[in-house]
C-alpha cells in the first residue's frame, strides 16, 4: 500500500478545496459589492487576488511534485491532472471576481439606476454551478458533474437576454451607456464563471470515468 502517496493526494484535494472556497467567496463578495455599490467590498475582492494566485502556484507545485516523485497511474494520474486543471479554472473564477469588482468601482462614478438585467440572479446561477461542480469533485460523483452542463445552458440564455436588453437600452438611452456597458461586461464575467464551472465538471468526469467530454468529445 502506498500510504504516504495516498495521504498526499488527500492533502492535495484539501488544498484545492481551500482554493475553491476563496474563489467562491471572491465571486460572492463582488456581487454583494454590485448589489450594494459598496466600494469597500470591491477593495476586499481586489486584495484577495494575490492570495488566490499564491495558492494556485502552491497547488501546482504539490501536483508537480507528486507527478515527478510518485509517478502515478490510472485514477491517481487522472486525479492529479484534474486537480491541475480545476486549480487553473478556480484561479480564473477569482479573476472574474476581480473584473466584476473593477466594473462596480467604475459604476460608482455614475448614478445608480435600475437596469433591465438581474445580475444577482445570474450570479446566483453561476455560483450554483461552481458549487455543484465542486460538490461533484468532493464526492467523486460523475453523474452530479453531468448535471452542471444543463445549468450552463440556462446561464448562457440569461447572459444572451442581458446582452439584448442592455444593448437595446444603450440605443434608446445613450446617456445610460456607461452603466449599461459595465453591467453587460459583468454579465459576461458571470457567464465565464459558468464556463469555468463546466470545465470543472468535465474534469471531474475525466477523473472518475476516464472519459474526455471536453468540447462534446466522445470518449
Amino acid at each position: 500500500m502506498r500510504v504516504k502517496f495516498h495521504q498526499s493526494l488527500d492533502e492535495l484535494k484539501e488544498r484545492l478545496l481551500v482554493m475553491a472556497g476563496m474563489a467562491e467567496q471572491a465571486i460572492q463578495r463582488s456581487i454583494e459589492a454590485y448589489r450594494t455599490r459598496d466600494l469597500s467590498i470591491c477593495e476586499l475582492v481586489l486584495r484577495s487576488e494575490p492570495a488566490i494566485n499564491r495558492l494556485e502556484r502552491e497547488i501546482d507545485q504539490m501536483a508537480l511534485d507528486l507527478l515527478a516523485m510518485e509517478q502515478p497511474m490510472a485514477i491517481d494520474l487522472r486525479f492529479i491532472l484534474s486537480v491541475i486543471r480545476i486549480n487553473a479554472d478556480l484561479e480564473r473564477v477569482g479573476d472574474q471576481a476581480v473584473n466584476i469588482a473593477i466594473r462596480v468601482r467604475e459604476m460608482g462614478a455614475f448614478a445608480n439606476i435600475d437596469l433591465p438585467v438581474d445580475i444577482p440572479k445570474l450570479a446566483e446561477m453561476a455560483s450554483a454551478m461552481v458549487r455543484k461542480a465542486l460538490q461533484a469533485f468532493i464526492e467523486g460523483d460523475a453523474e452530479m458533474a453531468d448535471s452542471v452542463f444543463d445549468m450552463d445552458d440556462q446561464v448562457d440564455k440569461m447572459n444572451d437576454a442581458a446582452y439584448y436588453a442592455l444593448s437595446t437600452l444603450i440605443k434608446e438611452k445613450p446617456e445610460l451607456t456607461p452603466q449599461s456597458l459595465n453591467a453587460l461586461i459583468i454579465a459576461r464575467n458571470l457567464e465565464r464563471v459558468g464556463d469555468h464551472a463546466t470545465n470543472i465538471a468535465e474534469d471531474v468526469i475525466f477523473w472518475v470515468r476516464g472519459a474526455d467530454v471536453r468540447h462534446h468529445a466522445a470518449s
Partner: protein, 252 residues
Amino acid sequence: MGVGIQVEDLNAWYGSTHTLQDINLHIPANHATALIGPSGCGKSTFVRCLNRMHETNPIARATGVVKMGEIDIYREASPVEIRRRVGMVFQRPNPFPTMSIYDNVISGLKLNGFRNRRILDETVERSLKQAALWEEVKDDLKKKSGASLSGGQQQRMCIARALAVDPEVLLMDEPASALDPVSTSKIEDLIFQLKTQYTIVIVTHNMQQAARVAENTGFFLNGKLVEFDSTHKIFTNPRDKRTEDYITGRFG
C-alpha cells in the same frame, strides 16, 4: 521477422500447485507486450511456457495450446527447435565467464553446429550492432571475456547472444531490474528498436518501464490473466478494479 503468439486454455502446475489457470490471449507479431503483476502471480511461469522451459522442471507440467505463428509448440516442435526460435534474456546477465565476448555471442550458433568462420563473424557483428554494443566492444571481441564487461554491457551481450540464432520471439524476464538507470535506458531503447524485427514479451515489475516500451500489457494475479489491453488503456483507465488497485499501489 517476428510471429504472433496465440495462447489457448493454457494451464500450468508445479506439483499440485495450479500456477497458471485458463490463460487465453494473443500476442501480436512485431510488438512489445509487457506482463505485470505481483510476485508469484504466474507471469514468469507464463513466459517459461512460451519456450517450453517450464517443463524442464521435473515436477512441472502444462496443458493447452501455444502457437508461434502456425506452429503448435507443444505438439509440432521439439524443445530445442523452440528455443532456437524463441530467445530469452533473464533478470541477471548470465555470460559464460570463461568465454570471450565473441564466443559468448556465437555460443548458441555453435551449439546448433555452425562452424563457418565468415558467417560467425558476420553474425557477431550484426548481433552486437542490434544489441547496441558493437561500438563499445568491437576492438576487444576476442581479447576480453564476457564477464569483464559492466552489468549493462553484459546484459546487452546476452541480448546479442539471443539474437545471434535469429529468433522470431524474444522473451525478457525483468531484463533491466539489476541495472542502473543509464543501462536500463539503453535496454529500453534497444527493445524499442528490436520490436520492429522481433516479437517481444517482457516481464517487468517496473510499471513505468512497461508503459514506456510496450504497446500491450497483461496483468496477472494469482495465476490468472485479469486484464489484457493496450498499455495506454491499462495505465490510464483499466477496466478491472484489481488492475487499477495494483497499478495505483492500493493492493495488499
